[in-house]
Symmetry: C2
Subunit: 477 residues, 2 copies
């Protein structure tokens, strides 16, 4: 499963590669002027993300502003066999935008048009560089919102490409469920529309879902049609401590089984609560904690909350504390989103990164508890936070980047974490994606026949392995 | 777009084809005994569905009982280049199981094991021959149910293969959202698992969604993991007449925009109401009618109903009549499902078939009204019924099968219907699928570049064009 360069993507050091790249850069520079850059720090910034993967910068970065310009870039790169790496905001977590074979980073960050908002259809059509916060800002007056919230203010093209989700996927689904259709530029420069704005269709293979989560390895997303939702009339959030991870997970299971349409249900382990309290000046009970949010009418939110409170109490949890004021709620979720920074502050001199796995919810407590024991046994400080309604949780181990032995310990821990999730009928990543970091686990998760289908798809759509090569699946072209 | 036999699927009449088929039948007969049949009426029954497409029977029908047996059948057919057509219950509507190149119908109807129900995870794993009613019967005691309801008691393997949906997709999604993972036997006999039971995953290409809706053209589904839902504590249904199709559609839009989580919202046109009244001995107001259903707690169902009532009144609709008793509700939905038979009774001596299109909901009224005018102009009697929450509606034109001129009129009408939907940014089929009937519309809907991607997918996964050839996309292998 080591990435292998395809015929058309010669190894980074070769003379022919250098000539191809030089030719592409010269042509792009002539065409795009200052919108083509070979500046070293810009390239570095585009060759890495929020990951502990080593930086692998592209040879150049180009900033197209239209689909037609993306097509021009792609045709030029394709003619010279130069790899292309689509780039959104660089907030992905597994080295998705690294350039192991060099090539051109195609930064869609200037494609920011909101092309249409169809309020009656609850959908919109946007360019890929629009971020989720920008979209929600634009939508505010319409009474609509786009719910998917991975924490970072990621570009929506990048979120589609990585099948992003986040805190409220339990209610609203992930990008898989919320992308209606895409426009994608393929490696040969052809422009594909993957669907219409119809809410459902049975007209052939599901190309939309094929490209959602393909991490730029099949083409470059240049337009996204998204489902929108009405801003709920009432929102309430709250926190509830539990005597154990198991009790918190059981409360989550019962909540969902009972049909309470919880909008967010997040778990923080004790260590995370302690650092969040310190960092965000909160006084949350320092025990396993659920943060929950309910959306609906005033009456239904009240009812959902009461029922959740009963379930929590039944499982030894409580007291259940409410945050009905918008400011309180914002503060709470900001604290949740700041868990990363809180952890950093609690572990001075160390850095961290976030990894994730996802298991059927009935196995979640077991998986989290065993993971905490494992962390303890190897002496790694880490926060654990989870989108528990989906069985998805994150681990952020803290380490000294210069301590080689510690890195080895963490690598061993990550392997065991994934094996544990797979043994419990789960996945090596619920939402962060494969990138470079999780490639080695795909055989164990999917089996060789399924992985071979993925390779066949890649070969069929990108036969010269030019689109973000060395990610998800690797093959010699 | 005329279906072209691949190299490996020689034309039905050729001598080499006859030899291959004879060899496969002999081997299957030796292996499966009475579970291999060449009986003419059985073959006819397997070579057609609820469609007006001409019957194209397979050469034989085989009834495997396990995945291993499916693999045996597939390997044998593949070795002789004989087409394979997966068969569920034969309730598809566009000639999905026709055998234009002959071959072996692989009937999964005896694969009926419910392998696991995971109540805590709200999922189950079943064999493909289990029908939706059988599954719901099995689940009843658990307090769970599987919501997708296309009307017919279809097999769940077939429903996955055709991306089925139905009356309550507006709340619960279609098979696309409710299939967690599949086991699929590919044309070379390899067995692919498309995912785990984790509720979400970002671990590579979305193979599950690739096979959902692929109509047996990429492989044979041998296992299905499905999402389940808790049976709602309270259900209430009701009917509400409107002065016009437009008013009914506007009420639907407002209902959804307001965030009322309506479980079903169905439109019947006046002609359908008249025939349903006569057939099911009801006294519904003979005007455009919405049938709605709400799921939730007692309090939330009441609130949803009140809010819907207010919206209906605002748009000139009403009176809104409630059916809170289970028997009344059942009677109402039975009447909706019997609309087909009601129409048959109202149009003696004629037959009908159901076609569907789907448009963004803001264009629904325009699309339905223009369709009704078109039907009127060509003098075709037809019912129109719609899953209006999704912008999806069905037309069932009545005709005399022996009247060639009438068939031509209907063909012209169908072409205009699809063109109308596509011009309104819709799809040629919201839920019935492509089969043979809608193939000719795929270029107009998707454009040539997207259709070429579909062909590439088909070639990559089924290079010899042996899996249900002549459906969705056609190519010369």
């Amino acid at each position: 499963m080591t990435p292998v360069a395809a015929v058309a993507a010669p190894s980074p050091g070769s003379a022919s590669r250098q000539e191809s790249v030089a030719a592409v850069i010269a042509a792009l520079s002539a065409r795009f002027g200052e919108r083509l850059s070979t500046n070293a720090s810009l390239r570095e910034q585009h060759g890495n993300t929020l990951t502990w993967q080593a930086n692998e910068p592209p040879d150049a970065v180009v900033f197209p502003e239209t689909t037609a310009e993306v097509v021009e870039v792609v045709k030029l790169c394709a003619a010279h066999g130069v790899p292309m790496i689509p780039f959104g905001t660089g907030t992905s977590l597994e080295g998705h935008v690294n350039a192991p074979f060099g090539g051109v980073s195609i930064d869609t960050g200037r494609m920011k048009a909101i092309l249409a908002v169809h309020a009656e259809d609850l959908d919109c059509v946007i360019e890929p560089g629009v971020t989720r916060k920008e979209l929600n800002e634009h939508l505010r007056a319409s009474g609509l919102f786009f719910p998917i919230d991975p924490g970072a203010d990621a570009s929506l093209g990048g979120m589609a490409a990585t099948r992003a989700s986040g805190t409220n996927a339990v209610r609203y689904g992930t990008m898989r469920e919320n992308v209606l259709a895409l426009e994608v530029v393929l490696a040969d420069g052809s422009v594909v529309k993957t669907g219409t704005r119809a809410k459902k269709s049975a007209a052939g293979y599901d190309l939309t879902r094929l490209f959602v989560g393909s991490e730029g390895t099949l083409g470059i997303i240049t337009q996204v049609a998204l489902r929108l939702h009405g801003i709920p009339e009432a929102i309430s959030a709250g926190t509830c401590p539990f005597p154990s991870i198991k009790a918190a997970c059981d409360a989550t299971i019962l909540t969902i089984q009972t049909g309470i349409p919880v909008a967010r249900i997040e778990l923080l382990d004790t260590a995370s609560v302690i650092s969040v309290n310190a960092y965000s000046k909160l006084t949350l009970p320092e025990m396993p904690l659920l943060l929950v949010e309910f959306h609906g009418t005033e009456a239904s939110v009240k009812e959902q909350a009461e029922r959740f409170g009963e379930i929590a109490e039944q499982l030894g949890g409580g007291p259940f504390t409410w945050a009905t004021q918008a400011e309180e709620r914002t503060r709470l979720w900001q604290a949740r989103h700041d868990a990363y920074w809180a952890g950093r502050a609690a572990n001075p001199g160390k850095i961290t990164f976030a990894t994730d796995v996802c298991v059927p919810i009935s196995h979640l407590a077991e998986c989290v508890e065993e993971t905490l024991r494992d962390l303890d046994a190897c002496g790694i400080a880490s926060g654990v936070a989870g989108h528990v309604g989906d069985g998805n949780f994150h681990v952020s181990p803290f380490f000294d980047p210069d301590d080689h032995a510690q890195r080895k310990v963490i690598e061993g821990f990550l392997d065991r974490l994934v094996k544990r999730a797979l043994a419990l009928d789960g996945t090596c990543t619920g939402e962060h994606g494969v990138g470079e970091g999780k490639m080695k686990y795909l055989v164990a998760e999917h089996g060789e026949p399924a992985l071979e289908v993925m390779r066949q798809l890649k070969r069929a759509i990108d036969p010269h392995n030019l689109m973000n090569p060395g990610k998800i699946v690797a093959f010699s072209g």
